[in-house]
């Protein structure tokens, strides 16, 4: 049983006051949600609790004992373990070795026991209901599967304070359900849980209390019962979000026609995307949604089938062609596939449209800066400037940068894999607006998402995939979470 108290925690990064005088009390056996916009300082706070960052001011006490958490190791020793927003996994190692990193089970001579390691891993994976061999190399997993491994890793430490930084951003309803059951159990056991998510429904579903951050400043803590969604958003964003009408812009004109497309991980996928239409791809982890997108975009070779784009059969053998023809793909794994972490926001945003950043035939940094700045404006990315290094952005703002990059290519067909992956309500709202605006301009959009609310809200048609094949299509009218789940699961 631990009661964790934060007093006057402050943290400043070059150019940013990430946290300013945070006070917070986390009781054992409560699920304590932390809400805030992208860049509000949530992850920073969690990293401080996890011993990964050192606060400039303030103190942390556990059961009224002031503790100093100089390193992750010390945090573990105090029973604190965290599911990182940016996964803390090693691609080149097996699932088992990732989960028990630096604490593999050993015999009494201090030698690693691999059999035991595999067994312990299997137990954890079963707990999370993941059908994967513990010896699988991490690099062979999809992003969502990695997310689950990260959760298993944190769980393996039997924490007293369990921190989850946007664990559900990229997993589907099925996994989310499993996760919540586990959290409830831990709660029974008296574990204190800090839970970060931009999916407010989830928060109202499981949280006991909610603390709100804005621009690094505390906005108070409320029992869920005492705060409405509207008020929460109001406090997070500092304004109320006017509801957008999500009327369909679907036209009769066919834009993209996919016929019996087959690839590594999917077979006989057919669908038609009309101008102004938003199609959703739903499915559980590993359903093959990403692979379909990659096949259309020309990253992976298709095994069979035909893609007809603007009434002509096309095969992109490289994304370059896809981009030139007006197809864009926002990948799921922003860190590895989306971003140039050590480059500036500007260079990231113009990456896919370098040709437009020219003045005559020559590259013009002024022009590039303008392009980037306007995207930064329209997506309102929270950063010190377009010259800031992307690595130092908050998760959500990084996602906005990736989006900005692809919107700048102004595509006719936009494929987005987990579009609001880690994006706050405000920004999510903006992105939805952007998407329906694009649709209204007659563009076709394919949304791959594990957030069903999102699909239901955005899509004219939802294609549900199951183990790589089409399990059914639901139109906006008759789509419900239950229907999607039943198609996707059994």
């Amino acid at each position: 049983m631990r009661t964790i108290e934060l007093q006057g925690i402050s943290k400043t990064f070059p150019g940013v006051k990430a946290l300013q005088g945070i006070d917070m009390l986390i009781h054992p056996g409560e699920i304590h949600a932390v809400c805030g916009e992208n860049g509000a300082g949530k992850s920073t706070m969690m990293n401080i609790l996890a011993g990964n960052l050192q606060p400039d001011a303030g103190r942390i006490s556990i059961n009224d004992q002031i503790v100093s958490l100089q390193s992750p190791q010390e945090a573990f020793e105090h029973g604190i373990s965290i599911v990182h927003q940016h996964l803390s996994l090693v691609e080149s190692l097996s699932i088992a070795e990732n989960i028990f990193a630096n604490q593999q089970p050993t015999n009494r001579f201090g030698f690693i026991q691999y059999k035991l390691l595999r067994q312990k891993t299997k137990v954890l994976l079963d707990q999370l209901d993941i059908q994967l061999d513990p010896t699988t190399t991490l690099s062979e997993l999809s992003y969502a599967e990695k997310q689950m491994v990260e959760i298993a890793k944190a769980l393996s430490k039997n924490p007293e304070l369990f921190i989850l930084d946007e664990p559900t951003a990229s997993i589907s309803a099925k996994e989310t359900k499993i996760l919540f059951n586990i959290l409830k159990n831990l709660k029974q056991k008296g574990v204190a849980i800090l839970y970060i998510s931009h999916r407010l429904d989830e928060i109202f579903q499981i949280a006991d209390r909610i603390s709100i951050l804005k621009d690094g400043k505390p906005q108070g803590t409320f029992p869920v019962a005492e705060i409405s969604k509207e008020l929460l958003i109001q406090k997070m964003v500092g304004r109320t979000l006017e509801e957008t009408s999500d009327q369909s812009h679907r036209t009769g004109e066919v834009l993209l026609d996919v016929k019996n497309l087959s690839g590594e991980k999917f077979t006989n996928i057919s669908f038609t995307l009309h101008c102004g239409e938003i199609i959703g791809l739903a499915g559980l982890i590993g359903a093959g949604r990403t692979e379909i997108a990659r096949a259309i975009f020309g990253v992976e070779v298709k095994k069979g089938g035909e893609i007809i784009f603007k009434n002509e059969s096309i095969v992109f053998d490289h994304p370059e062609e896809a981009i030139e023809r007006g197809v864009a793909y926002v990948p799921e794994d922003r860190k590895h596939l989306g971003l140039f972490m050590d480059m500036s926001i500007r260079d990231n945003i113009i990456a896919a449209s370098l040709k437009n950043a020219r003045d005559g035939n020559l590259f013009s940094s002024a022009k590039a800066t303008n392009m980037a700045s306007s995207s930064k404006q329209s997506l309102n990315i929270a950063a010190t400037g377009v010259d800031q290094i992307v690595r130092n952005l908050s998760g959500g703002n990084q996602q906005k940068v990736v989006l900005g990059k692809w919107l700048l290519t102004n595509p006719d067909v936009l494929i987005i894999d987990e579009p609001t992956h880690g994006i706050d309500v405000g920004a999510r709202h903006e992105i939805y607006k952007i998407l329906s605006k694009l649709a209204s301009q007659g563009k076709g959009i394919i949304v791959i998402s594990s957030d069903m609310a999102e699909l239901l809200r955005l899509c004219d048609n939802i294609i549900v995939l199951k183990e790589g094949s089409k399990a059914g299509t639901l139109s906006r009218q008759d789509a419900t979470e239950q229907k999607i789940m039943s198609l996707a699961a059994n």
């Binding site: 150019g15 990253v299 590895h336 596939l337 971003l339 050590d342 480059m343 990456a351």
Partner: protein
């Protein structure tokens, strides 16, 4: 401004160079700060720098090439061989020499980019192969090259020997290309994140292939200049040059992991090494002391650079 100096290696190196030169000028007023001396320093680093420009491009894109030293020798020897034994006219022979270098670059680039061979071993193996070929064509070296060939590297302009001008040309040209053309900017993206670059529509493999061809060609040019300057082609030319050049380039702000570096950095890195060794010659430091002191200075420089950056981060 201060930010620039403290953050950007190119500037901090410039400052450091100025400081060192100032000190040297006070200690050796009659020998160091003379036009002759600097003309000589520049001439002596011109060959390395031309190779370094190509290496900088490779490092920006996250690769490197250990075979450049051998290519220097091979290009020089091949050119000399054709002129000397077959009386091939100078321009043709030179083109053949550069072509030879390009082929080496093509092979490296193809096997690394398209076949996924490990760059380190590929270029290391190539280093042996090409050195062997240099020995094959030139035996123990080829003397008395045609007068007109020698003029390329030996004639002077405004008191500076031609290689210096070629070096400056290469540096300026590629600085411009890298800053001002889309094609060359792509190397930064490839070095920054290969997968993301590919998904952003950059043909990574093709670009990688080219980066090796470019650096090999520059090495070829350097080799031809060197043998023209020497008036002879030696199979031993450019031994250990690869490490020297990579050192200069990293000193100039590049990183083996890619994504960083500016072309002028290549020149500055080479200049730094050149001035240090020149000062050691003037100070008559030699034998093992020369190796020890050079090593210490190298480490000290990088340490200072890190120190400045920390200072900057704090002061911000």
């Amino acid at each position: 401004m201060l930010k620039k100096i403290l953050q950007d290696r190119v500037y901090s190196l410039l400052v450091l160079l100025a400081a060192i030169s100032a000190v040297a000028s006070i200690v050796f007023p009659s020998t160091f700060p003379t036009f002759e001396n600097f003309r000589q320093i520049l001439l002596n680093l011109s060959i390395d720098t031309i190779v370094a420009v190509g290496m900088m491009i490779l490092l920006i894109s996250g690769a490197f090439d250990l075979s450049v030293g051998s290519v220097v020798a091979f290009a020089g020897c091949l050119t000399a061989y054709l002129m000397h034994f077959f009386g091939v006219p100078v321009p043709l022979a030179i083109m053949a020499g550069i072509a030879g270098a390009m082929v080496v670059g093509l092979v490296n680039g193809f096997l690394i980019a398209y076949q996924g061979i490990n760059p380190m071993i590929q270029t290391l193996a190539m280093m042996g192969i090409v050195r062997g070929m240099a020995l094959m064509v030139s035996g123990s070296g080829i003397q008395n090259l045609p007068y007109w060939f020698n003029t390329i590297g030996q004639s002077k302009l405004l008191g500076l020997q031609m290689p210096v001008w070629y070096m400056l040309l290469a540096v300026l040209m590629f600085t411009f290309l890298v800053n001002k053309t889309i094609v060359f900017r792509r190397f930064y993206y490839i070095g920054g994140n290969e997968k993301a670059a590919d998904l952003s529509g950059i043909r990574v493999k093709k670009m990688k292939l080219w980066s090796f061809v470019i650096s090999a060609s520059l090495a070829g040019v350097a080799g031809i200049l060197l043998s023209s300057r020497l008036g002879a082609a030696l199979p031993t030319m450019g031994r250990g040059l690869e490490l020297r050049v990579i050192t200069a380039v990293i000193l100039g702000g590049a990183s083996l992991s890619g994504g960083f570096g500016k072309i002028p950095g290549a020149l500055l890195g080479a200049l730094f090494m050149g001035i240090i060794s020149n000062i050691m010659v003037i100070a008559r430091i030699s034998g093992y002391w020369q190796e020890i002191i050079l090593g210490i200075i190298l480490i000290a420089t990088l340490w200072l650079d890190k120190f400045l950056q920390k200072k900057y981060a704090d002061l911000r």
